[in-house]
């Protein structure tokens, strides 16, 4: 793997590709990283809107919020939290191995991350399935007899919007990481100078994790 540090005047560096409009690889990587941070900012603001809806309606319907929160399965939620946090660890390890050029290890760590992501989605599926059965559904679909408080359907509107949007981000994150895994296996060219792809995918994955860390107490531990 390429080991020499990239400098401004090194046009001959074969790995990775330096786009013609950048002064140096360092600038190119910085640009990619800054772009990713900005993108993560937009993601946080995307969820911020939902958090505001959550805050307003929780303020309006505190009893319904507490009762509805109890109806969730805390065990499954906790397991999911542990699974997702662990997957963030493996994603971080993938970056670590990418920096040292151990491509096999990168692929293994990403594979573990993806396995845990699938585990998360499977558990989420069972939670959703249970809700469809007992009728704790959003808005006009709500038919659960157990909680008949005003605002309980609203809780599940927020619940489903937030978890579905988060679930979508899990899937997108999986696709991004899967690309990095395939590259590690097929080309195996991650190394000290070329780990931005793994790093950015991992950053996105941490964001997915971070959003869940906020969603979990807000939804399950009211």
């Amino acid at each position: 793997m390429q080991s020499s540090a990239s400098t401004a005047g090194a046009p001959a560096a074969p790995v990775p590709r330096l786009a013609m409009h950048f002064a140096s690889l360092e600038v190119q990587d910085n640009a990619a990283r800054l772009g990713m941070w900005l993108f993560l900012t937009t993601e946080i603001l995307l969820f911020a809107g939902l958090f505001i809806c959550y805050g307003v309606y929780r303020f309006l319907f505190p009893e319904a919020w507490a009762a509805s929160s109890r109806s969730l399965d805390l065990t499954l939620g906790t397991v999911n939290t542990v699974v997702l946090i662990t997957s963030s660890l493996t994603a971080a390890l993938a970056v670590h191995y990418a920096k040292t050029g151990k491509n096999k290890a990168v692929a293994v760590q990403i594979f573990l991350t993806l396995l845990m992501a699938i585990g998360f989605l499977v558990i989420k599926y069972f939670e959703y399935h249970h809700k469809f059965e007992i009728g704790t559904l959003p808005g006009r679909y709500y038919f659960y007899e157990g909680i008949q408080l005003p605002g309980a359907p609203m809780y599940f509107t927020v619940y489903f919007c937030a978890t579905a949007l988060h679930g979508l981000h899990v899937v997108i994150g999986m696709v991004v990481l899967a690309f990095a895994m395939v590259r590690a296996l097929r080309k195996g060219d991650f190394g000290p100078n070329n780990y931005t792809m793994v790093e950015l995918g991992s950053m996105y994955w941490h964001l997915v994790d971070l959003v869940w860390i906020f969603l979990f107490p807000l939804l399950y531990l009211v």
Binding site: V27, T41, L45, L46, G49, I52, C53, G139, P153
Partner: protein, 556 residues
């Protein structure tokens, strides 16, 4: 070469004549359709944006004329009430989401930003191309929805009505959601470009003021657009499935919708108008042949407007049931926007003062722009005063106010930018006489359209109404006549610019003798912007007169 450089600029000579023949301009470097559609060149992407943005401007303009024709008489004139509702909704949606928001950033920002920073391209060229196609996808979906029924909610699509109306809300809102991604991608791209792609010598305080304005705009795009993206999805879901998020019948809060909506849509006004301020800062300096007055104040006030703009949204909701305290607070914060705008106006006027004004078409638009910005801004301060806003709320006074800012300021800047950068983009010159004539027509037509609307609103005519009492007819006729004059002006511009595109005389590299960095390269620029090594920029971007030498003869 850089012509007429009064002060020696070592290194600022990127193009060399011996390379000339081997480096065709970006316009002719690859002539296949594929070379345009799949290009990653920021200049070509900018031009493609220009094409689409102008097309949507035409569509929105036709809707505007239809509205004005309908309002020619107090009763029904050319359409029924439902068609009228759809027409003004589509006018607003097309003009705001498809034209105004991408107009200056995606066209001129794209084209000029790398040139002004001495870069060969934006930081993420492929994302740049993607943003064009995201925009087109969203636009097509929205247009499809408009043709298949249209929607009658007004461009603000307030709930609960937008969740229950039988018109096709979902595809249009989802289209606008997709367009939001295009806006975000462009914003991220420009911020990263400004941070990482500046050429050696271009420090933050040597960036052209247009770059500062685009940078501030991009910050708003990145921070505000996701919120409306989420909101558009929630309303779409509400409309399709009835989740009840903003439905009062199910405990939802429509005022919460309004808060989230204006949290984006108020800063969006600055997405539209800040780039206009940037364009004008360039033009006023270039055509006054004078250094910009108070460079740092102009630069910082762009960021100031972007910042304060995030805390003013509540002034759209003075009568929506928010608390009096919140109303007062938002009123004061709104006026802070006026402070920053006034700083800019003061500096522009200070730049013209004792300048050697070259009264060309862009400068004519600057004059119109200054008038519209000052009057639009001052009526804005008036509207930001809670006690005054309550009688004016939802009247034509508000319509006239925001058209003064959004059309008056932004369209003037858009037209000024087209005329100023036309030789840069196409290497040809338009007919100056026709330019001045149409500028006069447009400024007059614009005043004739909207000053009557101020009066109508002050007399109590509500906005969005299909019919009105007999006594409002004279002013409505005046407004429609003004709109026709405005349309006539645009037709003239379209004609002489189209003619100049093919038959205009070759302009040379820098017909305005501007000191802007974008003029240092050839016009039109070669594909990678510069030929030869990376140019350096020892001079300030608005440096026309050496202040030490210039002050002496005047110091009486």
């Amino acid at each position: 070469m850089t012509p007429s450089s009064s002060i020696a600029a070592p290194g600022a000579t990127p193009a060399h004549e011996e390379h000339h023949d081997h480096h065709p301009s970006y316009l002719v470097d690859g002539t296949t359709i594929k070379s345009w559609l799949l290009t990653v060149d920021h200049k070509r992407i900018g031009l493609m944006f220009l094409f689409w943005v102008l097309l949507f401007f035409l569509v929105g303009g036709i809707f505007a004329l239809l509205i004005r024709l309908e309002l020619l008489t107090p009763g029904p004139t050319i359409m029924d009430a439902m068609t009228y509702n759809r027409t003004f909704t589509l006018h607003g949606l097309v003009m705001i989401f498809l034209f105004m928001i991408p107009a200056i950033p995606a066209v001129f920002g794209n084209f000029m930003l790398p040139l002004m920073l001495g870069a060969k391209d934006v930081a993420f060229p492929r994302l740049n191309l993607l943003s064009l196609y995201i925009y087109l996808t969203g636009a097509m979906l929205a247009l499809w929805g408009m043709l298949n029924g249209g929607l009658d909610t007004g461009w603000t699509f307030y709930t609960p009505y937008s969740a229950h109306t039988t018109t096709t809300v979902a595809p249009v809102l989802f289209g606008a959601f997709i367009i939001g991604f295009s806006s975000i991608v462009t914003g991220i791209n420009f911020i990263v470009t400004t941070h990482t792609m500046r050429a050696p010598g271009i420090t933050w305080f040597k960036m052209p003021l247009f770059v500062w304005a685009i940078y501030a705009t991009s910050c708003i795009q990145v921070l505000a657009t996701p919120v409306i993206g989420l909101l558009l999805v929630l309303v779409t879901v509400e409309n399709l499935f009835g989740f009840g998020m903003f439905d009062p019948a199910r405990g939802g809060d429509p005022v919460l919708f309004q808060h989230l909506f204006w949290f984006y849509s108020h800063p969006a006004v600055y997405i539209m108008v800040l780039p206009a301020f940037g364009v004008m800062s360039e033009i006023v300096s270039a055509f006054s042949r004078k250094n910009i007055f108070g460079y740092r104040a102009v630069a910082y006030s762009s960021l100031g407007i972007a910042f304060v703009g995030f805390f003013a949204w509540g002034h759209h909701m003075f009568v929506s049931g928010q608390s009096t305290f919140a109303g007062g607070l938002f009123g004061v914060l709104t006026m802070l926007v006026g402070v920053f705008t006034a700083i800019k106006v003061f500096n522009w006027v200070g730049t013209v003062y004792k300048g050697a004004v070259d009264f060309k078409t862009p400068f004519a638009y600057f004059c119109g722009f200054l008038f519209f910005t000052v009057f639009g801004g001052m009526t804005g301060i008036a509207l930001g005063t809670t006690s005054l806003d309550i009688p004016w709320h939802d009247t034509y006074f508000v319509v006239a106010h925001f058209h003064f800012i959004m059309v008056g300021a932004t369209i003037m800047a858009f037209l000024a930018a087209i005329h100023y950068w036309f030789p840069k983009m196409f290497g040809r010159m338009y007919h100056e006489g026709w330019g001045l004539v149409s500028a006069a027509l447009i400024i007059l037509g614009f005043n004739a359209t909207f000053i009557p609307q101020f009066l109508l609103g002050n007399n109590g005519m509500p906005r969005r109404y299909y019919e009105y009492p007999e006594r409002f007819q004279a002013l409505n006729v005046a407004s429609t006549a003004g709109a026709s004059l405005l349309a006539f002006g645009f037709v003239i511009i379209a004609m002489y610019l189209a003619y100049a595109l093919f038959y205009g005389r070759v302009a040379g590299n820098n017909p305005w003798r501007s000191k802007g960095y974008e003029w240092l390269t050839e016009s039109p620029p070669p594909t990678h912007n510069f030929v030869g090594p990376q140019p350096t920029y020892p001079e300030e971007p608005h440096f026309y007169v050496d202040p030490k030498k210039a002050e002496v003869p005047d110091a009486v």
